[in-house]
């Protein structure tokens, strides 16, 4: 793509900032979300906004996009002070935002989603015009989908790209992307980054929020790091290294080596589990309604099996099938060597299975309910309608302390927690039931470096305690770190396995990418 490197942004450093934030402050009740954040975003740069969970990134973005007005502080756009009062207001001023939870309407077509709220009244030919415009907007991002398709029928990745297309459909001078690649696979991520390079060359000021340090290194010209709601620093050009960023984000709590190196002390490679013994879980050519088509795998206690594959290869569908969340159409599912026919999440839970789903917001947390209720629900469901004994509840709640959940108290609404802390509560929900097998679908998605270390360390502990894990991770290095064995899925079929010394990034990538139908 265009050869726009660090020099460009350095050359433009004297230019006035496209967007400047000074001393941003914001409280939500007693919780301080922003405590003096500063930021300067220049035209023609990709600016990474970094920080741990709860550092205030999302709040800052929401302030810029008019969702939550600031308590104090200034926002300047092109040298003029602004106070966006709503998302629409911010868009009108030229700030377009793609939020982490894609805010689109599933029942609308892609074209309608890109255009809604921005069209005049109906006139003949409007829908055709809209479709043509959507087609070109999607083509600009390099994706080939029919804009007349319903959004709800599209994959998460397509939805994400449609959200970007919608943000670019207005004349924006500032584009904000909150974790845009969290649901994209490698190719799609690369494509999105290409799009960002192209937009940068057109002079757009782009703010990118991401936890993936590789992406920051690959594309960002500048990074601003937030910690505890305040800006701790800005790094440019040659100083923009993973090591520097990790140290700034954590305040030195984690040495960069821990977060970056391959297998850490908790990595399972050194101690291969006993090969003997019956499989806790075995699937024989199981198939769902659409995906998977034919997946066979065996998992023993104390073993961690990774499912590798591209988006749409049927990884999530496989673990959902194993957990009974979807109907099995063919094949056999064996638990402790016994075939299970009538299978449901309830039965799976009683058999000692646990699932941390990919979509935390709609299938994980119980929004509006307290952390306590969210934590106890699985244990209580297993016990039935008879209320948990007080001691059992107390023991389960103690897990939040053990996992280092940061919250105001067990009575706080789950929505008030950051993504990483919500995930810890979800893991604790199932750990309280003392599961024998834990299915983890993208357990570290949207979680910061420190939180990711916590979760990965916890998974290692679970495995050492004799639990069987099935792990889905889009990041191959993470998969390698957390698994003793990897099963590669392609088009809904298990097509290969790697273990021991064969378990390398190259081998897994090669197996994923091979096209031998």
């Amino acid at each position: 793509m265009e050869a726009v490197g660090h020099i460009t942004s350095a050359g433009r450093a004297s230019e006035p900032a496209a967007l400047r934030v000074r001393g941003a402050r914001k409280h939500f009740g007693p919780v301080r979300a922003l405590a003096g954040a500063d930021l300067a975003l220049r035209p023609g740069e990709v600016h990474a906004l970094m920080g741990g969970n709860g550092a205030g990134k999302s709040t800052l973005i929401k302030a810029l996009s008019g969702v939550h007005p600031l308590d104090a502080g200034e926002i300047e756009l092109g040298g003029r002070a602004i106070r966006p009062r709503s998302a629409h207001d911010a868009e009108r001023l030229g700030i377009s935002t793609v939020h982490q939870e894609v805010m689109l309407i599933p029942g609308f077509t892609l074209a309608e989603n890109i255009a809604f709220g921005r069209e005049g009244p109906w006139r003949p030919g409007r829908s055709r015009e809209r479709e043509a415009r959507a087609r070109s907007a999607l083509a600009r991002l390099g994706i080939d989908v029919d804009p007349r398709r319903e959004l709800g029928a599209c994959s998460v990745a397509v939805r994400q790209l449609v959200a970007v297309a919608r943000a670019l459909d207005v004349r924006a001078c500032v584009l904000i992307l909150d974790e845009p690649t969290s649901s994209l696979d490698r190719d799609e991520t690369a494509r999105l980054l290409d799009v960002l390079r192209r937009l940068r060359a057109q002079g757009l000021a782009i703010m990118l929020v991401t936890h993936v340090l590789e992406q920051v290194e690959a594309i960002a010209d500048r990074a601003t790091v937030l910690r505890d709601g305040a800006t701790v620093g800005e790094v440019v050009g040659a100083d923009l290294t993973r090591a520097a960023l990790v140290e700034m984000m954590t305040g030195g709590r984690i040495t960069p080596a821990d977060a970056l190196s391959g297998p850490g002390p908790g990595a399972p490679r050194g101690a291969p589990p006993a090969r003997a013994g019956p499989a806790l879980l075995e699937t024989r050519s199981i198939a769902g309604a659409r995906l998977p088509r034919e997946v066979s795998l065996r998992v023993r206690p104390g073993e961690s099996v990774g499912l590798a594959g591209l988006l749409g290869s049927g990884r999530s569908e496989t673990v959902r099938l194993i957990f009974g969340a979807e109907r099995m159409r063919a094949g056999a599912l064996l638990v402790d060597g016994v075939a299970r026919r009538r299978w449901s999440p309830r039965r799976a839970g009683r058999a000692g299975f646990a699932l941390a789903p990919e979509d935390r917001r709609t299938e994980g947390i119980l929004p509006g309910l307290s952390v306590r209720d969210n934590l106890l629900i699985a244990l209580q469901a297993r016990r039935g309608f008879r209320l948990l004994r007080r001691s059992a509840a107390r023991e389960a709640l103690a897990l939040t302390g053990e996992l280092g959940v940061r919250m105001a108290g067990p009575g706080a609404p789950i929505d008030s927690l950051s993504g990483g802390n919500q995930q810890k509560v979800l893991l604790a929900r199932w750990l309280a039931t003392r599961p024998r097998a834990f299915l983890l679908d993208e357990p570290t998605r949207g979680i910061d470096v420190a939180g990711r270390e916590d979760v990965l360390g916890l998974m290692a502990r679970m495995r050492r305690a004799g639990m069987a894990l099935v792990v889905i991770a889009g990041e191959i290095p993470e998969l390698l770190r957390s698994c003793t064995r990897a099963v590669v899925l392609r088009d809904g079929r298990s097509v290969g396995e790697a273990e021991g010394t064969d378990l390398t990034e190259g081998a897994v990538l090669a197996a994923i990418a091979r096209h031998d139908r």
């Binding site: 299938e363 929004p367 009575g411």
Partner: protein, 327 residues
């Protein structure tokens, strides 16, 4: 119960208190008690009487709303229950307790039908219970033979007219029902499960919550509470009247639950709030009639006050007002 529910409960109680205070000043006879025909009367006793009937239904409605649903059939259910009790007692000569039991069972059955349509057929609660609401009114007509059935059994008449230890029978029944609901929802996992189903059906299912059982129990309890309210109303007017019994009861019950701080989106709920909401609603009606607002016009100002109470409970609106107030 989340922190937010506790706050809205305070607002509901505050609104009720304000309304009572207004009456204490504006209409001197409001709290006066009198006795006539050996029966306590007075505006405040009327409020307790009618408010309790709404409160009983609001308790059941609150649990249904917590699951993310709504039960529009409670009015028809009350009519069915009243008709069943009146017919069995007056025409068939059943003893009062078995007639009452049969009426309550009929109510639970109505709830079970709604639950079946929601949980098994997958209808939206509003559609499913609308069907039961419309059909139920017809069933009540069939049971009673198309007209009011007078009730003379002294025990059944005492249910809605008697006074024990200074409180009307309906208030005692409300207390008993509230106790039973509190036990059922907080001393078992039913409350947690209902809230979980309402907060996120998908997540609740993955966590192993027996969603269908929860729905059947919750709609069944709601039907039971509606039937009890129907029995009280039947007793009060001394007849099972299929065409007017329980008219508009569903709307009062939903309003009471909402004023009490239970969101129609489902999730957390407040039983005490529902009772406070019911009492507030009835006090509001009584206030309007004490101020000589004709009963034909009264719904309009009533709606305005309800809207104001709901608005003041909204944390978003309060935050916005606070922002405006700041220079």
């Amino acid at each position: 119960m989340t922190a937010e529910n506790g706050q809205t409960l305070r607002w509901a109680l505050a609104a009720w208190g304000l309304l009572l205070l207004f009456n204490a000043i504006a209409s001197p006879g409001f709290f006066m008690l009198g006795a006539r025909d050996g029966r306590l009367n007075g505006v405040f006793i009327d409020i307790l009487n009618h408010g309790s009937r709404i409160g009983i239904v609001a308790l059941g409605m609150t649990l249904v709303i917590a699951t993310g649903g709504v039960d529009l059939a409670v009015g028809s259910t009350a009519a069915i229950s009243g008709a069943v009790i009146a017919v069995l007692s007056s025409h068939s000569g059943w003893p009062w307790w078995s007639a009452l039991g049969a009426g309550l069972l009929a109510g639970a059955a109505c709830g079970a039908v709604s639950a079946g349509l929601v949980a098994l057929a997958g209808l939206q609660p509003i559609v499913a219970t609308l069907v039961v609401m419309v059909a139920g009114r017809g069933v009540a007509q069939i049971i009673s033979g198309g007209g009011g059935v007078p009730v003379t059994d002294p025990a059944l008449v005492a249910l809605g007219n008697g006074v024990w230890l200074g409180l009307p029978g309906a208030a005692w029944l409300l207390g008993l029902t509230a106790g039973a609901f509190a036990l059922a929802s907080r001393r078992t996992a039913l409350g947690l499960f209902a809230g979980a189903v309402g907060a996120s059906p998908g997540a609740a299912r993955l966590a192993g919550v027996p969603g269908r059982t929860v729905l059947v129990m919750v709609y069944g309890l709601c039907g039971l509470s509606a039937a009890l309210a129907g029995a009280v109303e039947m007793s009060y007017i001394r007849a099972g009247d299929p065409s007017t019994a329980g008219l508009g009861l569903e709307l009062d019950a939903i309003l009471a639950a909402v004023i009490g701080g239970t969101s129609l989106r489902g999730g957390g709920f407040s039983l005490l709030g529902a009772i406070a909401g019911a009492m507030f609603l009835q006090t509001l009606s009584a206030t309007l009639s004490a101020q000589n607002v004709s009963s034909d016009v009264a719904p309009a100002p009533k709606a305005l006050v309800v809207l104001a109470v709901c608005a003041i409970q909204s944390p978003r609106l309060r935050a916005r007002l606070r922002q405006r107030g700041r220079p």
